[in-house]
Symmetry: C3
Subunit: 159 residues, 3 copies
Amino acid sequence: MSKLSAIRSTKADSIATARLSVETSGEGFFEITAEVARFLEQIGARDGTVLIYLRHTSASLVVQENADPDVRIDLVTALRRLAPANAGWVHDVEGPDDMPAHVKAMLNGVSLQIPVSDGDLALGTWQGVYVAEHRTSPHGREVVLQFCGSCANSDRASD
Amino acid sequence: MSKLSAIRSTKADSIATARLSVETSGEGFFEITAEVARFLEQIGARDGTVLIYLRHTSASLVVQENADPDVRIDLVTALRRLAPANAGWVHDVEGPDDMPAHVKAMLNGVSLQIPVSDGDLALGTWQGVYVAEHRTSPHGREVVLQFCGSCANSDRASD
Amino acid sequence: MSKLSAIRSTKADSIATARLSVETSGEGFFEITAEVARFLEQIGARDGTVLIYLRHTSASLVVQENADPDVRIDLVTALRRLAPANAGWVHDVEGPDDMPAHVKAMLNGVSLQIPVSDGDLALGTWQGVYVAEHRTSPHGREVVLQFCGSCANSDRASD
């Protein structure tokens, strides 16, 4: 059983792009929800989609629960069980945590789209956006943010 | 070996958004292909992309085989093996099916884009779009549908 | 800790779509990065997003390391461990490699978006785009490429 709401329409008139640098402190989840919201505010976004894209192969992007931090601890545990270190990987020149990191990044993915409505991320109540770092040591990670849709100050589009 | 077809171009002139409420009856796959197609028909969509976004952290979106229902039974089995209940999770206050549901949602993801061509979803012959419910009990799930592209009745864009 | 770059804005004025046929030689990773880049060049893409969509349920799309080929060997091994053949699957009429292929396709996904900046894919240094074939025998796979954004020769949009 399903039910469709009223439809809201607008003109797609602009694309805005920026890069977000994220410093991780090693394996774990790093929330970037506020940074994405700030980007949308800066460009005066109204309705459209924001693409979040991670330019790496040993970290990934995840939308997950932002309430109980224990959930993120268990997610790290789950990923370690799915892609254990020292599991006879051929590619081991970059350390025992590298190949498991590639497997985790493949499973989670590096590309994420979230609808934007009236300038706000249309996230669920318990959803946060995270960069999941799969390497053991701290890394600098680069995220591309790209909004496509309508902007309040659409003059920006011709900057 | 690969080969590119002729290219079809159009103006990107409108964005239309709606929310779809889906009632699940517990763990399993719930098809929403027809609902997405109906949304595209209602807005007079021609060429563009439809974003399907699930606002939850213990269910996910999956494009999978719509022919033999045994495939979906096996997919549920596969997910249970990858994220078993009672596997020593720290987060267990919401029941033994909750943390496995978060793991499954992380692996499958909650964001999906499908190209639309001449108003039709460009799905493969055997592809259907599903909300995968990972909790044991029935849940109400909210999906955001957002089309970006050209519409037959582009006047809607200025509604 | 995170830092946002300068924002680059443009008009979203065109959508271009084409289909790419990819012949796989059986289980493994088949790179399509050059084909996607050629499509963007042909349409004169400047800024926007390219959607890559695979119309199948037993193969998937993956962004992963394009340097050491051993990484792809290990990724195949990892997927075999996560979805083994002969694991008591109900759906086995299409051979022992079929149901594991569906599981792998579900985990990796079939829909991928990559930002395009000044006509170039905004991939990380070590990222390549791959069709991951999960069936044992060679298959013809169809990929939809769809660019949404601004084009140098925007006259195309009214072709």
